[in-house]
Amino acid sequence: MDKKQLQKFIKWLQEKNYIVIGPIKEDGQILIKPINEPSQLDFSGQLPLYSFKKFLVPSREILFKYKKDDFKADLTAFKQALIGVSIFDLKAILLYNQVFEKDPYYQARLNNTLIIGQSQIPQFQSLSFKVWEDKYEEDILEHLQFDIFLGQAKEKKSSEFKIFTGSKKGQQILNDFTKQSGWKSDFEHIEYAGPIKEQGANPEMTKIKEKMPGSLETDIWQNLDQRCIECGKCTIVCPTCFCFSLADQPCLNKDEGMRKKCWDSCFYAEFSEITGGHKFLKNTAERIYNWYYHKFVRIPDEYNFPGCVGCGRCSMVCPAGIKIHEVLESIKNKK
C-alpha cells in the first residue's frame, strides 16, 4: 500500500463514520489529534508528546448520571480509528487491555476502536529513547494487539507500507475496502500469541524487579526525594499510568448530578491519605518509589510484563530533569 492508497483508506474510514485520530505536526511538536485531512498525518515515526491514552481512557469520564432514584450509565462509544500507533504505544494498549479487562466503559470504547499501528520493521526506529534494554525482535507483532499494522520498510522510507492484520475486525475492514476501492489486497495476517514471548518474561525486567524491593533506604530515593517536585507530569504523559479517583459532581438541580472517574497521580500527597490525615505514602521518596515499584514490580507481578514501555516521555517532560534510564541504571547497579 502506498501513501495515496493509505489516504484513500483513511477517507473511506471517515465516510464509514470513523473519527480518525493520529499524529500531526503542530508548532514543531507532534501531537495526537482527530484529523480532517489524511495528508495532515505525520508518519515520520517521531514520538508524539502524548500517547493515545486519553482516547481509550479519557482524563475524565462519566460513570453514571443520577436523578433522584434513577442511575444511568452510558456505555455508548463513538467509532474511532487510532492510526499511527507506535510499538511503544501498542505495548501500553496491551497493558490497558488487561488492566481494564472487566471495565465495561473501556471495553465499549475498545470495541468501537480500530487500532492501526505503524512502525519501521523489523528494527525499531527510535533507539534514541532507549530507556531500558528491550529487544524489538522480528516477532514483536505476534505479541501486540492491533487491528491493522502499517510496516514501513526500512530501505523504502515511508513511501510504501507493508500491511499486516492482527484481528478479524482488521481483516474485515480491509476486505471491505478492497472490494469497494479496487485496491489489490496484499496483507498478511499475524496471529496474536499472547503478551509474553516464548522465551518467558523479559530478562531485563526481571533484573530490575529483583533489585527493587527493600531498596527504599538507598541513596537513589533519598536523592530523588530532594529533586522531584511532585508535579505529576511524568504520570500524565506516561502511556501506561492509569491511577484514577472517583468523585461526584452535583448539578444545580436538586438530587441531580454525576459520578466521574478522573485521572489521578500517585505523586500527589493526598493519594494515600485517609480520614484523619494519615498518609501511607508519607513523603516524596515513598511516593516516587511507589511509582517505580508499580511499573517494575507490581505490574510484572500481576501480568508478567513490565509497566514501562520505554518511550522516554517521562524524562522529556520532567522539570527536575529526572531521567528514568539513569534511575534504572542505579537500581540495577545497587549492591
Binding site: 484514577f244 472517583l246 500517585c266 494519615h278 508499580h294
Partner: protein
Amino acid sequence: MLNSYLPKIAVIKNIKIQTPEVILFTLQLKNKEDQKNFKFIPGQFIEVGLPSFSEAPFAVCSNPDDSNKNFQICVRKAGQLTKKIHQLKINDQLTVRGPFGNGFPENLTGNILLIGGGLGLVPLRPLILANQNNKNFKMQIFYGACEAKDLIFKDEYKTWQKSANLALTLDKQCPNWKGNVGLITTLFDKIKVDSSATAILCGPPVMYKFVIQKLKQAGLDDANIFLSLERRMHCGIGVCQHCSIGSKYACKHGPIFSYQELKNIPGAI
C-alpha cells in the same frame, strides 16, 4: 459485562445510635431480588455512597445468615460523607457497591481469638453473630475502647457471652467501670491465650505492632494471625492503585491478610 461502578440503591430500615460518634444502620436493597441474592463473607466491605457526596468503604457488620433480608453498617462520623450519612433518617437512601474484598478465612475451627480496638469491633461482629451456635468454635474476644461511652454494641455483650469469652478494657478509668483498665495488650497479661489459636485483629494501625508482639509471645504461628488493613480506596476492585500494599491491593486481596503475607512488605503494618 458486570458494571462494578454502578451502585445499587439501599433504603435505611433502622437506625441505632451506638456512641455520640457512631451509628448502626440497617439497610435493605431497594430491588427485592438483589437483596435476596445479597451475600457476604465476614470481613468484606461495601462502598457506601450518597450521590453528590461520593463513596467510602465500610465493613458489612450484620449476621451473614440474615443477608437475604437486610444488612448493617456501623458508621463513625469522620468527614464530609459520614457527617452527611449521620443526618439521614429511616427510609432515606444510600448507594451500595460490592461486597468487595476477601473476608476472613472461612470454616474456622478450634480456638478463635478476636481482638478489636475501637471501631475495629465492627468487622468482627458478623463472625461473632454467625458462630454463636457453632460447636467447632471456641471464641474468645478482646475488645478495647477509649472510654466507656465509646463501647459499641453494648446491648449485645450479654448474648455474646453465652457462646464466647468476652474481655473488655478501657484506656482510661471511667466512673462505675469495674473491668480492666489499660491498653488492649494488658489483657494478654491477665488472660491466657492458646498457642494453637487463630487470632483475628482489627483496630487502629498503632495497635497491630504491639498486639502481634503479644501473640508471638503466646506462641501463635504467623500464618494463624489475621488482620484487617485500612487504606484509602476508590475503585474497590484492584485497579485505581490507591490501596496498594507492595504487590497487593487492600480492596481485592484484602482487607484481611495473614501476618505471614505482610511481615516482609515495608510499610504494610
